[in-house]
Amino acid sequence: MAETRQVRQQKKKKGAKEAEDIPQVLATDKKKKLKQLDSFIENVLEQAGEEFLEEFKQIEGQ
């Protein structure tokens, strides 16, 4: 059965909205990853502070 004009218009609007949503989804995903990274970094600095730097001295290598 042929689609009515109304159904076609509704599908078109839905597709456009989904296309608009994609960058938003990506942006949200990116934000989430960056937040996770920031949390990781903070944890690293908490675990290995500036004393870690002082204790890190190495023997001269080649």
Binding site: L37, V44, L45, L53, F56, Q58, Q62
Partner: protein, 518 residues
């Protein structure tokens, strides 16, 4: 005439030990070596494969006796030899070098193999740490694949390339001017993609540039040269030479490692074929090295007075490489297409990269942070220092810099970035894991590896160029003087047949000489 650029990477790891005040870095490192050696079955009672130091001549210089040193080589006794060294069943060498655990990859034919073997070294060392910490549960050992401790000390990531003896002699011994016109400018400028970056008084793109002090030299711990002139070829010196480079940065990014190795392979082949007619000599290569490290796109002066920059110079090499790699009469550089495309993409990306006057990353349209260590670090540090208003010299940035290179995948900033999808890999996890246990199939590493896997009990010493079997009243030495021979294709069937090393040697004798040149 050029020959395939068999390549190996030697990585000295930084080591941090906590929880055992009387455990020195040297002994911790030896513990790692032996814990792993035990795991792979080469420390069973009655076994003791020694590293053969007889072929090491660190004080002999390719330029002649005047440049070398008449110093007696320390003799390493059997116990110390076993304490320090392990020749692994994958053909690699794991050992303690000046208190650093060092992993020397087996010989690789391609840049992608070198990437995977280098990463396999990280897995091996992670496993070694896990085993050592089981032995001493109160101890925490951390390893870092980098070049500086931010306190003035440096340690290396060395590269070794197989070269034709005549070409090596022509370019580096008889007429080093040829190297100054071609190889040195290439090496000075390749840090724009091979540098791993560091914070400090300012951000620099290379960790090692500041530690290099001369163009040619024998030393590796002071007066560090761009080209090491050690006469230690680990192969038949009548046909082959080893080019030993100590200026490279340790790279975490697969891409940085791939480009560092792959582009150097191509340039060396071009050098061997006398393909580079242009003179790219720099007025002062060492100064240019440091200038570029401080600012990747700074102007540098050619010997004839013209100004250029590292990106432009690298593009000249790329243009030559593109035409060269299309020639039919040369040994094909493995992965050449990928190397050339990646090289081009990176140079394009560098031209659109924008940094502020304070060296913050402003724009990266080429998405180089997904590929290059120094750009990824710059992105991360820019983000963090703007958030916390930190100077480039702030200790927190140095902590982040070190932790970027932590090889513990739970703690490493690099691996956290990779897990977040912010950087790309070239070698798959499966490819890397395979090289933990196996050698690349197309070099002599495969032969050495198979000997260690099957006949370790009968081996009394090994080096890059020899496997020595103990047959009771006689020692039988199998020379591996050609890094391109001893391959799986040629010898797999024989190893499968041989029940012991005597049978192996008898079967090899029956085979006769390998067909083809060399």
């Amino acid at each position: 005439m050029s020959i395939p650029k068999v390549v190996g990477i030697e990585q000295e790891y930084a080591i941090s030990v906590k929880g055992a005040d009387d455990l020195s870095a040297f002994h911790a490192s030896c513990m790692l070596v032996n814990a792993y050696a035990q795991k792979v079955g080469i420390r069973e009672p009655g076994m003791g494969v020694l590293w053969d130091y007889a072929h090491e001549t660190p004080f002999q210089d390719i330029r002649g006796e005047l440049f070398g040193r008449k110093t007696a080589r320390d003799v390493t006794g059997r116990e110390d030899n076993l304490l320090i060294n392990a020749i692994l069943p994958n053909g690699a060498r794991l050992y303690t070098d000046h208190a650093h655990p060092e992993y020397s990859t087996p010989e690789c034919l391609s840049a992608t193999e070198a990437v995977a073997c280098d990463k396999a070294g990280e897995l091996i060392l992670n496993e070694a740490v896990r085993l050592a910490e089981k032995i001493l549960p109160q101890t925490t050992i951390k390893l870092f694949k980098n070049n500086i401790d931010h306190q003035g000390q440096s340690y290396g990531c060395h590269e070794n390339y197989l070269m034709d003896a005549n070409a090596h002699e022509a370019c580096l011994v008889l007429n080093p001017g040829r190297a100054q016109k071609t190889l040195i400018p290439f090496l000075v400028t390749r840090q724009v993609f091979a540098g791993s970056g560091k914070p400090g008084a300012q951000f620099e793109i290379s960790q090692r540039a500041g530690f290099m002090e001369c163009l040619f030299g024998l030393d590796t711990m002071f007066h560090r040269p761009l080209i090491n002139t050690r006469q230690e070829h680990h192969a038949d010196p009548k046909r082959f030479r080893r080019l030993h480079l100590i200026l490279g940065d340790a790279t975490m990014s697969d891409f940085s490692t791939f480009l560092k190795i792959g582009t150097t392979q191509i340039v060396l082949q071009m050098l061997e074929d006398d393909y580079i007619a242009s003179d790219f000599s720099l007025r002062d290569g060492l100064s240019a090295l440091k200038q570029i490290s401080a600012r990747y796109d700074c102007p540098i002066e050619m010997a004839e007075g013209r100004k250029t920059n590292a990106i432009e110079l690298q593009r000249r090499f790329l243009d030559l490489a593109r035409i060269y790699c299309q020639s039919r009469d040369i040994p094909r550089v493995p992965d050449a297409d990928l190397i050339l495309q990646s090289w081009s993409d990176v140079l394009d990306g560098l031209e659109t990269l924008t940094l502020s006057r304070d060296c913050d990353l402003e724009d990266d349209p080429g998405d180089l942070r997904r590929k290059l260590d120094w750009v990824l670090k710059l992105w991360l540090f820019t983000r963090y220092r703007r958030k916390k208003n930190l100077s480039w010299n702030h200790p927190q940035l140095k902590v982040l810099d070190l932790q970027y290179h932590n090889i513990d995948r739970e703690e490493s900033i690099f691996y956290s970035l990779r897990d977040q999808g912010l950087t790309e890999a070239i070698a798959s996890e499966a490819e890397v894991a395979a090289f933990v246990d196996e050698a690349p199939p197309s070099t002599r590493a495969w032969f050495r590896s198979r000997c260690m896997q099957k006949f370790a009990r009968e081996i009394y010493l090994v080096n890059w160029e020899v496997v020595g079997f103990d047959h009771g009243d006689i020692h039988r030495m199998v020379p591996l003087l050609n890094p391109l021979k001893g391959t799986r294709e040629r010898f797999e069937e024989i190893f499968d047949k041989a029940a012991d090393s005597r049978e192996l040697l008898a079967l090899i004798e029956k085979m006769g000489p390998q067909p083809g040149p060399r």
